[in-house]
């Protein structure tokens, strides 16, 4: 026969203070874990969602990131641009964009001393390939002018980079003429302008950084990858856009390691605390346990009942922890991408996965803390239990 659940609930309610304190202790532990996980989840999501499924990034072999790669205009025009398998733009030109990537430094709200941002120079094909961009304010930059457009994350986090402001980088000033939004999070942290203007400013000669290519379909994408990687004249690394961005999310790993480490140590601590609470509960209810046994409840049902009580405590803790981190959901913050020395803004995400892991974590703490006391309760002899003070 099972002891009704309401018995446990009422007990927890009677010992309100203890219940709240124990649950809150577990909650804080869960919160640390959930916060660090939501950070990496957000970062991963930002990068994962940033790749177009049919697009490839071409970089110099071994360079690892666009920033350290070089591709010359000549090799782009002669070897890459007119390759079969590349999709066509509306204008009939191939969807291949030669791009220039640099980092620039602007003071942000969080770090007034300046934070690094990715600055990208593109040509008309580059604009055409960015159909996902919508100009929320202003307009696209004009070629031949010292104008730039900035991502919505840049506009909101960097006061100097708002619409109509001029920002200084390279050899002079650039007018911000537009703010764009895009469903690809990593692109929202960029400052984009005319590549030819920027080449001069950064003294690059005719050396661009990378090439973005869109394949006609998946078969063509595979063929392009093979033929471009094998191209002796170029020595290029060919990555799908998704692969490229996923690699960048590794900068959040350290935070996740530290967060998990801290959470595990804290969890052992909270487990001891939960154990303490449950032992006290068992000790105080000694007579009750005896009575229950006299009434005919088996040892097993007493064991289950106390174990369940500890699990309820853990669930309360898990919920409290998640409630604590919930305000972090959607909070925008920036992190330096390790390969680019530039900041990428992303949003913390308390995903269902994060919530589930945190709850499981809380339940493990509750189970580990409740098991021994529950055994203790079940083992009590009826007579001694009834005689207990």
């Amino acid at each position: 026969m099972k002891i009704p659940l309401s018995y446990n609930l009422r007990n927890l309610a009677v010992r309100r203070t203890t219940t709240i304190m124990t649950a809150f202790g577990i909650g804080l532990t869960v919160a640390v874990l959930a916060a660090s996980m939501s950070l990496t989840a957000g970062l991963r999501e930002a990068f994962r969602a940033s790749g177009h499924p049919l697009q490839l990034i071409l970089m110099r072999e071994g360079s690892g990131a666009e920033l350290s790669s070089q591709v010359s205009r000549e090799s782009f025009n002669e070897v890459i641009r007119y390759r079969p398998g590349i999709a066509k733009l509306k204008s009939g030109e191939p969807a291949a964009s030669l791009e220039l990537v640099n980092t620039i430094n602007l003071p942000s709200k969080e770090s007034p001393d300046g934070m690094n941002l990715t600055n990208r120079g593109i040509l008309p094909e580059g604009v055409a390939m960015r159909e996902d961009f919508t100009m929320v304010r202003g307009r696209w930059f004009e070629f031949g002018k010292r104008e730039v457009v900035v991502g919505s994350d840049v506009a909101s986090r960097y006061p100097d980079a708002g619409l109509g402001r001029t920002i200084r980088f390279g050899r002079g000033e650039w007018l911000v003429v537009g703010v764009f939004d895009t469903p690809f999070p990593a692109r929202k942290s960029e400052v984009i302008g005319d590549a030819n203007q920027m080449l001069q400013d950064f003294q690059r000669g005719s050396l661009f950084s990378s090439v973005l290519v869109r394949a006609e379909d998946e078969v063509a994408m595979q063929a392009l990858t093979n033929s471009l990687s094998a191209e002796q004249r170029l020595q290029l690394d060919v990555l799908t856009e998704r692969e490229y961005y996923e690699r960048q999310s590794s900068s959040g790993n350290l935070i996740q390691y530290v967060g998990t480490f801290v959470a595990i140590i804290m969890a052992v601590g909270s487990m001891f605390a939960a154990m303490n609470t449950m032992y006290a509960a068992v000790a105080r209810r000694s007579k009750e346990i005896g009575t229950l046994r006299v009434l005919g409840f088996s040892r097993r049902s007493i064991l289950t009942s106390f174990f369940i009580e500890s699990m309820i405590l853990a669930v309360l803790g898990g919920v409290a922890g998640l409630l604590l981190v919930l305000p972090l959901n959607g909070l925008t913050t920036g992190i330096g991408a390790d390969a680019t020395f530039a900041e990428i803004a992303f949003q913390l995400r308390v995903t269902p996965e994060v919530a589930l892991t945190s709850m499981i974590f809380a339940l493990i703490v509750g189970a580990a803390g409740g098991l021994l006391p529950a055994f203790g309760a079940a083992r009590k002899q009826i007579l001694t239990a009834l005689r207990d003070m």
């Binding site: 203070t17 203890t18 304190m21 124990t22 809150f24 202790g25 804080l28 532990t29 919160a31 640390v32 950070l39 110099r60 071994g62 360079s63 690892g64 920033l67 350290s68 070089q70 640099n102 980092t103 620039i104 430094n105 969080e110 770090s111 300046g114 934070m115 690094n116 980088f169 050899r171 003294q203 590794s250 900068s251 350290l254 935070i255 530290v258 801290v262 140590i265 804290m266 052992v268 601590g269 909270s270 001891f272 605390a273 154990m275 303490n276 609470t277 032992y279 006290a280 105080r284 913050t333 920036g334 992190i335 330096g336 991408a337 390790d338 020395f341 530039a342």
Partner: protein, 387 residues
Amino acid sequence: MRFLPLIFKNALRNRRRSFLTISSLALSICLLGVLTALYAALFHSSPPPGQELRLVTRHKVSITNVMPTWYKERIRAVPGVKEVIIWQWFGGWYKTEERDRQYFFPRMAAEADRLFAVYPEWEIPEDQKRAFQADQTGCIVGADLAKAQGFKIGDRINIRGSFFPVNLELTVRGIYHSPHESDSLWFQFKYLEQGFESLGWPNFAGTFTMLAESPEAIPGIIRAVDAMFANAEAPTKTETEYAFGLSFLAFLGNVKMILLSICGAVTFTILLVAANTMAMSVRERVREVGVLKTLGFTQEKILGILLGESMAISLIGAGIGLVMAQGLCVMLRQAPPIVQQTKTLTIEPAVLAILIGVSLLLGVASCIVPAWSAARTSILDALRFTD
């Protein structure tokens, strides 16, 4: 003081509970200790001897943006600058192109003729120094690195370029010992310049490292150098080598805030755990308090005994926790360093004092409410009290 034995007896009365509480406290204090030590090492420490006179000038944007090499002579002319060299981070791949921690170590190009003047604290035999300076493709490695990778003098090391498309074939000519950083490889800047020439690239420098004549000269040098290039093609940022090392932390996000909020969460958790236990053990003893009162113990004495017990428990927990924290610090020193500060991580006396203070405060805070109400209960109520 007379009551010390009583306090200890009380603390040991429910051994299982005291053990659990102390373990829980010890773990939390251990964590708090490591985090505070890390915080202190990162944000409140001063440069180790030998480093305090060194400054680094880089492009204002980042070390991946470069500066013209002629800056060097202009910097040398700044009053207070004793010596300056070009220092270029190289990166590249050693053995594998995966991000493999095992083969990851800093690789730098520097001007060999003056390198040792800017790093006077390095110990390296004179003949090795000369052999390195005489060999354009020579390199020197730090003692820790040599040990980790098994490098010996005369070994060949091949590095594939990543950021710079230049492949290096180096020969180990010397092994240096440094009191704070011995895990880098240094090779001749001339060798790298040759690589750039064959690519048709102009000469440039990633950073300039300089030695100041005295600590007093440092602020002046920083101002003078940055002002000199403020409107040049490549504006600069000059900072101490120590601050330069720390600036890489910024890429991990807001480390300061992350550390502080974790510390806050841990402290609060300890408070909850300790308060919970003390409340439990005080409640159990209300009747006993009544007996003590009939024996003539005053309110204050009873309060003192209860507070003493709570403080004793948290002190024991703190003691164990701090020993574990120091152990963890020693382990963290072995981990691959992100910044050199973690390599000498230890619980400083100041951190120790703060943590003991915190644990005493926690002891008082966790117990004051239940102890106060127990001490104030009248004798009759206390004796009548059933739990």
